[in-house]
Subunit: 397 residues, 2 copies
């Protein structure tokens, strides 16, 4: 049995804050500062260049990748760390398109995270071969999977509403039409059980600063299904993906397996901060986490709907059809979220009118949910959001 | 006057080590652990998602970029941080090629760092339009600049020998032939004075973990000359380069100026570790640093040549023609470097026979150079490298 009360004590949560934004940036595991002090003082400072061997920096992207892979149903040696999610989307999509040179359609949906769509637009522009990006509504994606499509590129869980695609069903239909899949797990990894192997996913990517709690700007990951690894074309052919980086040979030869998806020198400090966060996941049963997440979501919806009639549910009501967040629509949602944040309930706002709340069982419990709704009720029923400064303030995140 | 003795005290240098490998990974500034503890405990842990505004994370890539730009003769707003050097080479080269669509030749040299060549091969393969990568010997590059060439992509200082290209002269010839330039400053930034504006460079890229002392895998930088910023095509079109990332609009619109060269969520921890290192540079006069660097190089060459006849100078003898490193050739250089490292003199080895020594005046002085040569002499004259374990050991860096 996962001991959620014990897990909560492994995070630093500021006094007076109920943190419902772990879907954007997870809180700091308490073990991080000491671990980072060790990495700085004992690895960088003392080992210097030798740290690439003695401290295991060189193998860290694969080692950490395998730890994350275990949370995603990925076999050993099929996940590697590095760069940002946008760069990893670029790598996965470019490799997938190169495997379907005769097809010109990239199928996504209009609820996908914009950066994924931007990256697809950038690749299409760079290739200059008439690739078309199609973005039907999420519910129309399944019908749009045809033999014309080269790649189906979707984010499993919608960043605004939390609506969850059926990865297995869509991947099966894609394969029946000869379509390759790229799954973005930004709002899935650490949020719910994922089984990439069982779903038959071809490529997957994700970030680690949300539900995995790796810290601001922590490195991304990429998964390539074992059967594709030796065929995957490498568009970002940096030296760390070379079969023998330290031979310094003049021609690029892709490395074996997932190693070819490495690009440049890995971000050692960022990867190191992520490691104590992954230690916590060793204690978590993902099915129990999922059950708790759905329970917390149902409690939150019930309480908000009973006490705040101004807010309209934007997420699926069925807990199994959403990720680990619940969103409500409210026309002045931006101002309302500012008012909540000033009162210690931190969620976030997404255009045009979405108030997002992450419900993350590692450090959020029923008591937090009830206390958060007390504050939301106060802000809504007393129109505490209706002030010039809340309406004028501009956020960057 | 730059006070080099005072600067040396701002670095942690391990007991019993003379560190001549700052050209690969710089040592840790003593201010880093406390600063990182602050970033972790006061920014990430306490500010959580608010840190993007309150701790300035969102503007950090531009702010840190400007600090580095001041060391490189780049105007404000023309350098931005992020990703790795390989990714930044990709961005610069892709943008430059898109500005010369009718030309198909990428000109580099056979002494360029292999990752730059690999990235060029990757772009050529992805574009599939018959681009050709030419790599003459470094001394033949100037003659190879013709009207056929789209982009001249060079590393200013050779990673093996330290030989330095004349950036201004080559850029002038390039422009006379309508060729755009991409300069890799990996071994220049923090090693010698660079004046990108005076040289007329079009694009430049570099890393920060070498002479800038940013830590293992610290983020890279990219420079785009002001007159090109609004035309530069964006191949890696991630959301952070969008003109309004938080509008979440479906179509990519590149940001103003250098901002479009941002890609994904910035690596906050890596950028933060770099900041105390940049504080040190505020105290440095680059011309005085260059003078010291050449003096240390001359002393090192004189002492080694007088005492170690087995080693043959691989670097230019003229100090003004090389960067801030001195390399020697020795057939068993790999084993010899292992023997040196075990005796506290840390340099590194590059295939096939290059022993590299970084001479970095921020923390290396004449006394270090003389004591290092004492050890080199001992290793060479007593053949201390000639043991099975030194010959068998395999390094990854």
């Amino acid at each position: 049995m996962t001991d959620f009360a014990a897990l909560k004590r492994r995070f630093h949560l500021p006094e007076g804050v109920i943190y419902l934004d772990g879907n954007s940036l997870g809180p700091m595991p308490v073990a991080v500062p000491e671990h980072m002090a060790h990495v700085l003082r004992n690895e960088w400072a003392e080992e210097l260049i030798r740290g690439w061997n003695t401290a295991g920096w060189y193998t860290q992207p694969a080692r950490v990748g395998d730890r994350i892979g275990r949370l995603l149903g990925a076999s050993e040696g099929s996940v590697v760390m590095g760069d940002t999610l946008s760069v990893k989307v670029h790598q996965a999509l470019a490799a997938a398109l190169a495997m379907r040179p005769e097809r010109k359609v990239i199928l996504s949906d209009n609820g996908n995270f914009p950066s994924d769509l931007y990256i697809a637009q950038g690749i299409a522009g760079m290739l200059g071969r008439g690739h078309e990006l199609r973005t039907p509504a999420p519910e129309d994606v399944e019908a749009a999977i045809t033999d014309e499509v080269a790649v189906l590129m979707l984010t499993e869980v919608d960043y605004r509403t939390g609506r969850k695609h059926d990865m297995k069903r869509l991947t099966e239909k894609a394969h029946a039409h000869g379509v390759l899949t790229v799954w973005d797990l930004a709002h899935s990894a650490g949020a719910l059980p994922v089984d990439l192997a069982a779903a038959g996913a071809d490529f997957a990517v994700g970030c680690t600063y949300k539900f995995l709690n790796g810290g601001p700007g922590s490195p991304a990951f990429i998964y390539v299904a074992p059967q594709h690894q030796e065929q995957a074309a490498v568009a970002l052919s940096g030296w760390m993906g070379h079969t023998a980086p330290f031979a310094f040979s003049p021609d690029y030869v892709p490395g074996e397996g997932i190693a070819r998806m490495r690009v440049g020198t890995p971000p050692v400090l960022g990867l190191s901060a992520l490691e104590p966060a992954l230690d916590i996941w060793e204690e978590v049963d993902m099915q129990e986490l999922r059950t708790r997440s759905i329970e917390l979501g149902e409690l939150f919806i019930r309480e908000v709907e009973a006490r705040c009639p101004e807010l309209r549910l934007a997420s699926p009501r069925d807990g199994t059809a959403r990720g680990s967040q619940v969103s409500f629509r409210f026309e002045d949602g931006y101002a309302a979220m500012q008012a909540l944040i000033d009162r210690g309930v931190i969620g976030d706002f997404r255009m045009p009118d979405i108030m997002r709340f992450g419900l993350t069982p590692l450090y959020i419990d029923e008591d937090d949910v009830r206390r958060a709704v007390d504050v939301i009720e106060d802000v809504m029923s007393n129109r505490l959001w209706d002030t010039p400064q809340y309406k004028a303030r501009k956020a960057v995140t």
